[in-house]
């Protein structure tokens, strides 16, 4: 069986319109088509509405274009290729292309912990963070309710006014609430939390802050026990006109400093901030900040070394074995082949974890049994950990190379080798000067793919060493075996000092550039692309 692209069949040059009756689809097919498109349209229209309300105009426009395109493709009598390509393309465009563009955008923002939302959210958040109870606050009877926007409070003022609200929607008066003993206990559209629910959601209830009006300076209601609430006010008052916060106790004034946060003249910042575009700041930080630049550069070097050495080692071992086993006289080749396919068939993430156990310095099999109780720091010494990773990755990868090399070796015509022999070439010369160049022609594209794959081989690094041992001098969470992609992940998601999506995306963009360059060069130098007609 060959899967390699061969010459395609004769293209259907012209539609034989005259002779063929254009088949009319049956009624049920048409109904199914209309029904599924109808459902899709309804769902997307709802999403469009929400997007428009939320002010996400760019995404709204993209989604609208997509929706129109799909409807045109499927309702038109023509555009047959489109009907077949559209389903896959939709996913490709959203989850491959769009996310790359989105990454590029995030790389130019300060998105991350402390800079998560819009400026309006940040203002509410700053007020909520600095709330303290008003000394002479009246006692509000409150009921915790679950509303359309999550948890909210149903309050009854001492004078008997019933109001409802949640953190995003300030309290507003309602008249149709159910009262019990002068206290509102439920309201239409809201579910009252049972005592049991209150207990399980204790921390969320305690963190609930419901503003009493649209002006954040008016204060908010909080409740500690879920049944009585008090008025809390911030000691920071927001001046919407000047766009400043003033601390009523110290008199300090905090201004928008242009970096998505309010800062006072002496450099004190209010938390949280909000997301703003910061230009090349993330890239500048990556290459300018001494405590990031050093580790980043060594990570880049190691990423290249790791990817290159992985390809080289797996290819060398795989080719060696393929040559060794490529002898018609040898028996039992099938058995060897099945055994050697095992590392490839075993799920990769498990292999990395199993090897992490085998290489454990104190208790692992290698140190305890093979080396008789030695304490070789396989995974904890900066240099040795790199060697270990290469060993494990060779174990993981050489079966693939063995299989493809075997296939490629067997496809070299016997006559070529015979001719070389006739000309007096020795075995080594035949291999070096005849077989290897022929192999490289067919295997070069695979080697490039393998390089690209290993360049981002997250699992083997992260699951084996976690990128460690950690570099304690760096200001980001980075270790000596981290490659770029594990660095992205750790900066974005697994760090004690807070998630930094902006910096992580900047690293991701660097990887994009590197991979794109390597693949363009690689593909240009091979004939892989010329096979497509």
């Amino acid at each position: 069986m060959t899967i390699a692209p061969e010459a395609p069949p004769e293209p259907p040059t012209e539609r034989p319109r005259r002779t063929v009756l254009r088949p009319t689809p049956s009624l049920s097919v048409i109904l199914i088509k209309i029904a599924s498109l109808g459902v899709l349209d309804a769902v997307v229209l709802y999403a469009l509405f929400v997007l428009l309300m939320g002010g996400s105009y760019l995404v709204f426009a993209l989604a609208l274009i997509g929706l129109i395109a799909i409807n045109v493709i499927y309702f038109s009598k023509r555009m047959l290729p489109g009907k077949y390509l559209a389903p896959g393309l939709v996913f490709l465009l959203i989850f491959q292309v769009f996310v790359v563009g989105y990454s590029a955008y995030i790389a130019f923002t300060n998105f991350g912990d402390g800079h998560n939302g819009t400026k309006a959210d940040a203002i509410t958040g700053i007020v909520a963070n600095s709330l303290s109870r008003v000394p002479d606050s009246p006692t509000y009877a409150v009921t915790v309710v679950q509303g359309p926007n999550g948890l909210g409070l149903l309050t009854t003022t001492p004078s008997g006014t019933v109001q409802v609200g949640d953190p995003k929607n300030p309290l507003h008066t309602i008249t149709d609430a159910q009262l019990s003993g002068g206290k509102a206990v439920s309201a239409p559209g809201y579910t009252t939390l049972s005592f049991q629910d209150l207990l399980t959601k204790q921390t969320q209830v305690a963190a609930l802050v419901v503003p009493i009006s649209a002006n954040p300076n008016d204060g908010a209601i909080r409740t500690a026990d879920g049944s009585t609430g008090f008025l809390y006010k911030s000691n920071l008052s927001y001046d919407a006109k000047a766009d400043t916060f003033t601390d009523s106790s110290s008199g300090a004034v905090y201004r928008d400093d242009g970096n998505g946060e309010y800062a006072s003249s002496d450099g004190k910042k209010l938390s949280p901030g909000w997301t703003v575009v910061v230009g090349f700041k993330n890239f500048a930080q990556a290459f300018g900040d001494q405590s990031i630049r050093g580790p980043l550069l060594s990570t880049i070097v190691w990423t290249f070394a790791f990817a290159f050495l992985s390809v080289f080692l797996t290819f060398a071992v795989g080719l060696f074995l393929a040559v060794v086993f490529n002898d018609p006289r040898m028996r039992g080749k099938k058995i060897y082949r099945v055994i050697m396919i095992l590392p490839y068939a075993f799920p990769g993430f498990l292999s990395a974890l199993v090897w992490a156990g085998l290489m454990n310095p104190q208790f692992g099999f290698i140190n305890q049994v093979l080396l008789g109780g030695a304490t070789v720091p396989w995974l904890t010494d900066p240099t040795l950990a790199k060697v270990s990773i290469l060993i494990v990755n060779t174990w993981l990868g050489f079966p693939y190379m063995f299989l493809v090399c075997t296939g490629a070796l067997q496809s070299i015509p016997e006559e070529v080798v015979e001719a070389a022999k006739m000309d007096g070439a020795r075995a080594w010369a035949t291999f070096r000067q005849i077989k290897l160049p022929l192999l490289m022609v067919s295997l070069a594209p695979l080697l490039i793919s393998t390089f690209a794959f290993n360049f981002n081989n997250f699992n083997v690094i992260y699951l084996l060493t976690g990128g460690g041992p950690t570099d304690v001098n760096a200001s980001i969470n980075v270790g000596s075996t981290d490659i770029l992609i594990t660095l992205v992940y750790k900066v974005a998601f697994a760090t004690a000092s807070g998630r930094n999506y902006g910096l992580a995306s900047a690293f991701a963009i660097l990887i994009f550039i590197v991979v794109a360059t390597v693949s363009v060069i690689g593909f240009r130098r091979t004939r892989a692309l010329e096979e497509i007609n």
Partner: protein
């Protein structure tokens, strides 16, 4: 006279060694290297001792208590849920990838349209950019989707599957395209003359003939989605919704040595479905690999 028979076998052994014997020596060395970690994990999964250190004597004891404990007695580590989640995610992703890829491959193989060549080139290049690079954006995108449709957003398996389907058109489609080209176009023509529409030709004529490549692509997609860690760990946060890769890693990273034999039992069970499928479809997979698929 008596010397000859004695010398002949030695002579043969040497000749045998020079011809194929040394190949067997190398073969055995590498077979041990390949198989050892797997034998080791099987041995420790059967060891009731529990720890990493206790697993070092291979097959010293054999019982199934780790398997029983993992399946029934550990509510904190919902292994069965992980297993089923992984299976569902893998199967749905695999089947959908095959379907989406086959649709696209049919269009590329049987129709001529503007942008066809560029489209094929793009498919080749797309595989160079794995989705995990954009993991931050994927997380934020799903987070935004959660606000509109919580059912397909963050912490849902459907959300994760949708993300994986973003990679459905890639090298897989390219593999399929090559195989579709080997099916003679005269079959399509015949069907057309008999009055079959394009959809009927696709489903009833072409698809049955390209079964092997569908199996390969389905398997490769199943394997890559079941062992994917990065996106799954970011998307699925609730322990009962996680996959084996995320769950087993968090389990073993808490206490590597103490949980070792339980982890091994989990690893053995987790490895059985993909390995069985892989060995069963070995012949097809190998031919798929030589055409350019990387696991």
């Amino acid at each position: 006279m008596s010397q000859l028979p004695a010398r002949r076998p030695r002579f043969r052994l040497r000749k045998w060694f020079a011809a194929t014997g040394w190949r067997h020596v190398i073969g055995i060395v590498f077979a041990v290297f390949c198989a050892f970690p797997l034998v080791y994990v099987l041995s420790s999964s059967l060891n009731p001792n529990g720890t990493l250190l206790g697993s070092n004597t291979l097959f010293s004891k054999v019982d199934f208590s780790n398997y029983v404990n993992l399946l029934f007695n550990l509510p904190q580590q919902p292994f069965v849920a992980w297993f089923l989640n992984t299976l569902v995610i893998g199967l749905v992703t695999g089947a959908s990838t095959v379907f989406l890829g086959a649709l696209a491959a049919y269009a590329f193989s049987r129709m001529r349209f503007a942008g066809r060549r560029v489209g094929l080139l793009t498919l080749l290049l797309v595989q160079m950019f794995p989705q995990l690079l954009a993991v931050v954006a994927i997380f934020l995108l799903l987070n935004a989707i959660s606000n509109i449709f919580p059912a397909i957003g963050l912490n849902t398996q459907i959300g994760l599957i949708l993300v994986y389907l973003g990679g459905a058109l890639g090298v897989n489609t390219y593999l399929m395209y090559g195989f579709f080209n080997t099916v003679p176009a005269s079959l399509d023509e015949a069907a057309k003359i008999d009055g079959a529409g394009h959809a009927r030709t696709f489903f009833t004529i072409i698809l049955p003939l390209v079964g092997p490549i569908l199996a390969v692509v389905g398997l490769l997609s199943f394997i890559s989605s079941t062992s994917e860690y990065v996106v799954a760990s970011v998307v699925l946060t609730d322990p009962t919704r996680q996959t084996l890769a995320v769950g087993l890693y968090s389990f073993i990273s808490q206490a590597t040595s103490a949980n070792w034999t339980l982890f091994s039992a989990g690893a053995v069970m987790a490895a059985i479905p993909p390995m069985a499928l892989f060995l069963y479809l070995q012949k097809y997979v190998i031919s798929g690999l030589t055409a350019g698929a990387v696991k």
